[in-house]
């Protein structure tokens, strides 16, 4: 037995004190979370899947390993954490029950000795590796020099050193259990053998205490809290991941007469899950890496948003939960309105966050407050809102002109036809924008060539106001949704075809919250299907133009459709090039989240940034599959003085490549 009686007494007091403090802090942290509103999106059930997903994310570090260097080091620490949990129990209990071991005196205990030693070394490797990256190499996404992270690294690394120190002094004294398995401790013990026993014994006490205190410090770092809290909050956050699709914004109950607040103005108005998100942040900065606003020098940097909100919660939440005061207003105060309006909702942050944090909805919830409660929003948003409301399109074009683009095309409307296999939802851009009309006409050419039985809604179509919803105008969105669902109810069709990923997301992911379920297909997928089924034949152009494909956020990250557009392009003989930011790492065009209707006055224009990147691939043309992207990138190419690179929709490229032999006449004949 190493410890003396007074030492044991002191340790008992220290332990009781710490446990008391930990408990108090933990209760506070939990109360801060429970202060949040109910989260309607966390539906009961699915626990098996949730648990499985969480365990896979934690033990296999699926998302973390997207960055192999830092991911591998982190993996060592994570596994080490579980290994050392056992050691901590043994160490603390051993102070009072000499020789205590969770695994007793079994084979497992002996094996554990070797594994613990191994992981002590691996964790030190991991910590050094990560610390070097964060504090020496310092990649651009790790901007804030963080004392906190230095402390955390020091404590983890220090705890391991202390463990080895304690083990080796014990080994040198010959009182280390299973010492033959503690290969690292016995190795270091050799260097201590020369120390006289009279010195070695006090040294062993010092080592024991430093080991114990380092472990206590690590637990303390959790509940202070520091970002170290992520190791508990992260897995819990992953476990409570919202099961709804990424593209489905929470439906607000606008009929609730008793509701006094819509959207979020104060931290406690976030749901408990949204605040749990804050605890889970480890400040890894992956949310910054593909963030269009961070990359274009705008004030919104998702990591800083989350950290600021967390600091705010910890600083002002306790007074509120203890009934000693109100929390300050977030929009315009804790979070600048420029930050709130900057987001394009591209979800690059959400996609790459290893902790399952949802950054976007925090911003859109604050937008909801600004729009619904304060009517405080950029002037140009109002123009779009009013026109969407009265004219049914964001530009204020006459609703009666909606089908004018198709006048000479022999396109039937549902009003005439009542039923058709496919409802082609043209969208506002395809209906009114000259550029969009060309895409709509190309789409019709393809549908007619493939002999698809389709019709449009014509003047019965209207804007679904998705961009208004993302700007916070839930009322406008829901009013439009009701109207559209009523219209769709009148007709028979089996699928809705859209050429806009925002329309896709609306119908497929958002209308289900209104109990309207549709089969919806994006035109790139639909064209792929027609090609695969042999209903459409294209000339694989032998020239093989180099085409760089720009992933739309709402098609890619919101809908996981990455291959269909590329496959379609390849079929048409295009040599498809991926830009550096592609697929899950795609860079937004700058128009999402209603940004299409706002001025971009801060930082670098996102569309120019993206257009330059696309141009630098050396491609002859750019292909995209979203009208917002096409508008933004066409402008971007102009401002980058690369008007030589045409920006085309995939439908246009395919319509151009249709073989006359494979094309059906409008009546379906070959």
């Amino acid at each position: 037995m190493l410890l003396t009686l007074p030492e044991r007494l002191i340790f008992a007091l220290v332990l009781i004190g710490c446990i008391g403090w930990f408990a108090q802090r933990t209760v506070l942290l939990v109360r801060l979370i429970r202060m949040g509103a109910d989260d309607p999106d966390i539906t009961p059930g699915l626990w098996r899947t949730r648990l499985a997903d969480m365990l896979l994310d934690v033990f296999l570090q699926r998302k973390v390993l997207r960055k192999p260097y830092v991911g591998s080091f982190h993996l060592l620490i994570v596994w080490g954490f579980f290994v050392f949990a056992v050691n901590t129990v043994n160490h603390f209990t051993g102070a009072f029950l000499p020789g205590f071991h969770l695994f007793g005196d079994t084979f497992a205990a002996r094996g554990y000795a070797a594994i613990a030693d191994l992981f002590a070394l691996l964790i030190i490797t991991g910590v050094v590796g990560m610390a070097v990256r964060r504090h020496v190499l310092r990649p651009p996404i790790l901007t804030r020099p963080s004392v906190e992270s230095a402390i955390v690294f020091t404590c983890i690394g220090g705890a391991m050193v202390a463990y080895l120190f304690a083990g080796s002094t014990k080994a040198a004294l010959g009182i280390l259990r299973h010492s033959e398995y503690h290969f690292a401790c016995t190795f270091f013990a050799r260097y201590l053998e020369s120390i006289p026993a009279s010195l070695l014994r006090p040294l062993a006490h010092v080592a024991w205490w430093s080991d114990a205190l380092m472990h206590l410090a690590l637990i303390g770092l959790l509940v202070i809290p520091t970002k170290h809290l992520h190791l508990v909050a992260g897995p819990i956050n992953l476990l409570f991941r919202r099961p709804r699709p990424r593209g489905a914004m929470t439906r607000l109950n606008l009929e609730d007469e008793s509701a006094e607040q819509f959207g979020v103005a104060k931290i406690e108005q976030f749901t408990w899950k949204q605040n749990l998100d804050l605890y889970a942040c480890i400040e890894c900065g992956r949310c910054l890496e593909y963030c269009p606003t961070a990359l274009s020098d705008k004030p919104l940097r998702p990591k800083e948003l989350i950290v600021d909100l967390k600091d705010h919660l910890i600083a002002h939440g306790p007074a509120r939960v203890n009934g000693k005061g109100e929390t300050p207003t977030l929009p315009g105060g804790v979070v600048a309105t420029d930050v709130i309006w900057a987001c394009t909702t591209c979800a690059a942050c959400v996609e790459h966050c290893p902790m399952g944090i949802e950054h976007v909805d925090k911003l859109t919830d604050m937008r909801r407050h600004l729009v619904l409660m304060e009517a405080a929003f950029p002037e140009t948003a109002e123009t779009a809102f009013r026109q969407m409301e009265t004219a049914g399109n964001p530009w204020g074009f006459p609703p009666g002109d909606r089908a004018a683009w198709a006048q000479d095309l022999d396109v039937a409307t549902f009003a005439e036809k009542r039923r058709a296999e496919v409802l082609y939802w043209v969208g506002c851009n395809g209906s009114y924008d000259d550029r969009g009309k060309r895409i709509a006409r190309a789409m019709v050419k393809i549908l007619q060539a493939a002999g698809v039985d389709f019709a449009i809604l014509g003047t019965e179509e209207r804007c679904h106001c998705e961009s208004a919803r993302r700007l916070g105008n839930e009322l406008l969105y829901q009013t439009a949704a009701q109207e559209i669902m009523e219209t769709l109810k009148q007709y028979e069709f089996s699928r809705i075809l859209v050429t806009c990923p925002h329309c896709l997301n609306t119908f497929i992911n958002e209308y289900s919250a209104f109990d309207a379920h549709y089969r919806v297909v994006h035109h790139t997928e639909f064209i792929a299907e027609l090609l695969d089924g042999g209903r459409l034949r294209v000339n694989a152009s032998p020239s093989g133009r180099a085409t760089v494909y720009h992933d739309s956020c709402y098609l890619g990250r919101y809908h996981d459709t990455y291959d269909a557009p590329r496959r379609v392009l390849a079929t048409a003989g295009q040599r498809v090039i991926d830009p550096p930011h592609a697929r899950e790492r795609g860079l937004c065009c700058g128009a999402g989240g209603g940004r299409m209707w706002l001025e971009e006055t801060l930082g670098v224009p996102i569309n120019a940034l993206r257009a330059r990147e696309l141009a630098e691939t050396g491609a002859h043309q750019t292909a995209a599959a979203c009208p917002f992207c096409i508008t933004m990138l066409t402008d971007g190419m102009k401002s980058a003085h690369r008007e030589d690179i045409a920006v085309l929709d995939i439908a246009e490229i395919i319509a151009d490549a249709l073989t006359s032999a494979g094309a059906h006449g409008p009546d379906g004949s070959e």
Partner: protein, 258 residues
């Protein structure tokens, strides 16, 4: 202080209009209706006065039952109450008849200040507010871009071709709003919900002791036409001098805009 705002329900100007089968009216089916934009400025100004100096704002509209929607949107902006003067039919009222009925209705509300848009964007008749003022024998000012109000008088900037003048009118008075007066607010959701509970007084010609006969117009529309549905799209030919000459001629003589 009591402010009455006259508002009108009109088809949204972005609409595509069609002439109805009688050839003498506009097809109203399928059109989206809104508050006439100039009236929104009037409502906004009334609410600002209320916020600044305390006032009761009552919105008055005459027309078919659907007018209540427009009244509701004014209530959602912050007006206190509404009054709806139900008129038979849904269109074809003459400004004279409507103004006479509105004057009687407005009088029952005992306003200190009446505000209205300078014109409604449907028939562009541009006369109802001035008629109401004259019928009630109130001093009035038209096409106002700035307004200041005290307990006894209102000072306004009126827009005229090539300039403006400032006028001071003792209350009660009537003022018509021009675009530059203010920026109408976008209603907040809580105010929209509150507006649903606000009172809209129902007025009828009978209740006001008016006869429907006076509504009948002393004027008739004999024909209605849509002058130009499409843009001309005329690309001018010739050398620079010829094209420039032709353009100036066309603008002056064919279009009569310069």
């Amino acid at each position: 202080m009591k402010i009455v705002v006259l508002v009108k329900r009109v088809p949204d100007t972005a609409s595509v209009f069609k002439v109805a089968s009688d050839g003498r009216s506009v097809e109203l089916d399928g059109l989206k209706f809104v508050m006439s934009p100039y009236d929104e400025h009037a409502v906004e100004e009334a609410i600002r006065l209320k916020e600044k100096m305390g006032a009761e704002v009552i919105v008055l509209s005459a027309g078919p039952p659907e007018c209540k929607e427009v009244i509701r949107s004014a209530l959602a902006m912050g007006a206190d109450a509404g009054a709806h003067l139900l008129l038979p039919g849904d269109t074809g009222y003459a400004s004279r008849g409507v103004a006479e009925a509105l004057a009687v209705a407005a009088k029952t509300l005992e306003p200190d200040l009446i505000l209205a848009g300078k014109q409604a964007v449907d028939d562009d008749a541009a006369q109802v507010p001035e008629r109401v003022a004259e019928l009630l024998d109130l001093p009035h000012a038209s096409i106002v871009t700035r307004l200041e109000c005290t307990a006894t008088a209102v000072t306004v900037d009126c827009e005229v071709e090539g300039g403006q003048f400032t006028a001071e009118l003792p209350l009660p008075a009537l003022v018509t709003a021009q675009k530059g007066l203010n920026t109408p607010r976008y209603p907040t959701l809580p105010n929209i919900m509150k507006a649903k509970k606000k009172e809209i007084r129902e007025l009828t010609l009978d209740k006001l002791g008016l006869s429907g006969d006076r509504l009948a117009a002393g004027m008739t529309v004999t024909a209605m036409a849509l002058p130009r549905q499409q843009r001309l799209g005329k690309i001018l030919d010739g050398d620079t001098a010829q094209r420039v000459k032709e353009l100036v001629r066309a603008l002056r003589e064919d279009e009569k805009v310069l």
